[in-house]
Amino acid sequence: MTQLPPPSTKKLGLVIDLDTCVGCHACVVSCKGWNTENYGAPLSDQNAYSGAASGTFLNRVHSYEVQPEQGAAQLIHFPKSCLHCEDAPCVTVCPTGASYKRAEDGIVLVNESDCIGCGLCAWACPYGARELDAKEGVMKKCTLCVDRIYNENLPEEDRQPACVRTCPAGARHFGDLGDAESDVSKLVAERGGFDLMPEQGTKPVNKYLPPRPKDVEPEIDILAPYLEPVAQDGAGFAHWLDKALSALPGGPK
C-alpha cells in the first residue's frame, strides 16, 4: 500500500558533506554502474554519442556559486539523490502501490513490475529524485543500494551504497540517522547538518553538512611596504604613462 508506514526507528540514509565534495562525479558514475548492472530495469541512455545525449541517473552533482555579501564567491559542489523522506509525498500519490516506504528501515523504493509510469511521484518530489526511464517506461530512483547494504555475498566493506563506497574525498556517509548515537547522527549534530527545502514538509532523512567557514587570510605586512604600487610616488615612467593616458579624452582619472 502507498500509505506511509509509522515512522521507523531505523532511518537509513546519507549524510553529504558539501565542504569536502570536490565535484568529481565519481558517485554519479558508480551509481549508474551499480544500478544498471544489478537489480531492476537498467538506467538507459538515449543518443549517448550525440550532441543531444540524455539518460537516467539516480544521483546527480550540481555546482553552485554562492556569493556572500562580502568577500569572494564560493563554488560548492552539490550531489543530489533521493532523500528517503519520512513524509514522502512521492509514495502517497502513487495509484498502483508501486512506490512504498519500507517499515523496517525507511528506504523508499519502487516495485517496478507494478509501476505504470504515470510520473506522478516525480511530480510530487520537490528534489527531482525520481526519473522515468525513457526506455523501460518505469520510475527509477535511488534504492540506497538496498542490494548492497544487506548483501552477505559482498565483503563487509562493500556493504554500503555504491556512491559512498566510491567517493574519493570521503564526502558521503551512510548510516542510521534514527539512532542518535550513530556516527552519521553525531556528524550531523557536530557540523549542523540541514534539510533541503524544509518548508516542503517532507522531513528528509538524508542530511547535508554546510561548507566550513573559509579561513580569513591574515594580513602579511613584512613585505607589504615593498609591494606598494610604484606609480603612487609620483615619479617614473609608469607614473608619466598613467598621467598621459588619463589626460586623453575619455581616459580614467
Binding site: 543531444a52 537516467t56 564560493q74 495509484p95 505504470i116 516525480a122 511530480w123 510530487a124 527531482g128
Partner: protein, 290 residues
Amino acid sequence: MHPAPSVIIFNTFSGLGFGLLFWLGMGVLVPTGWAAFIWFAIAYIFAVGGLIASTFHLGHPERAIKAFSQWKTSWLSREGVCAVFALITMAIYGAGLVFAGTRLGFFGVIGGLASLGVVFTTSMIYAQMKTVPRWRHWTTPAMYLILSLSGGALLAGQIKIAAVLLIIGGVLQMFAWGTGDRRFVEAGTDMESATGLGHIGKVRAFEPPHTGTNYLMREFIHVVGRKHAGQLRIITIGLAFVLPVALLLLASNHLIAALAVISHIAGVLALRWLFFAQAEHVVGLYYGKR
C-alpha cells in the same frame, strides 16, 4: 510543467463529457429512445475518449488496472475508481432512458454527482502538489468544476445555465491567474532553501550536472510554453467564455450553438495548455530555472 497533449485532451474533453453526464443525470434534460442514445453517446465519447487519451502518456498502460488499488491515499487512484463508478451508474440510467423510456432518477442523481466527482478528483491530482505552488489552491478544483459544469450545460443546450456559469468561470479564471502569478514567490521555496546555502550568500547555478537535458528538465521546466502567456490568456478568455456567451445571447439556433461549443472547446484547450505551461515546479530551482 510540460504540457503533454494527451493530458490536455483528457482534461478538456473528459471535463465536457462528465459535465454533460451531470446535467443528463440531474434530469435537466430527459431525452428518451434514439434521442437519449445520441445524447449519451456524445457524453461517453467525450468522457471515455479523454480517459483513453490520458493513458497515452503512461509508460505501461497495460498495467492500468493496478491504478484502482490505492484509493486510500492517491487522488489518481480515486479518479479511476470514481470514473468507473460514474460511467457504470450513468450507463444504467442511460439504458433506462434509451430502451425503456423511463427515468431511473436514483441512478441519474448518483451517477451525475459521481461524474462531478471524477472532475473533482482529477483537479485534486494537481491541487495536492505542494511542489507546484500555482496549482495548490482552491481555485484549481473550482475552475475544473466550473468548466465541466458550464461546458456540459453548453453541450446540453442549457443556454441560461451555460451563460451564467461561463461568466462566473471567466471571472474566476482571471482571479486564478492573478493570484497564481504570485504563488511561487509566496510559497517561499527558492534557490537558497533548495540548496540550504542561503546562510552564506546569494546562490547561483554555476554548472548543471550534465551537458544535455534530462527527464526532469523536459517534464518540469517549460520556459518556451510560457513565452506567449499574455496573448494566450486573452485568447482563452475570448474563446472559452466571452464569445460563447455572446453567441448564446445573440440567437439560439443549432448552428450558433455549435459555434459556441467549438469556440468554448478551443478556448479550454488554450486554458489547459496555460495551466501546465505556466505552472512552475520547485525542482527547476536546482537548475537555476523556473
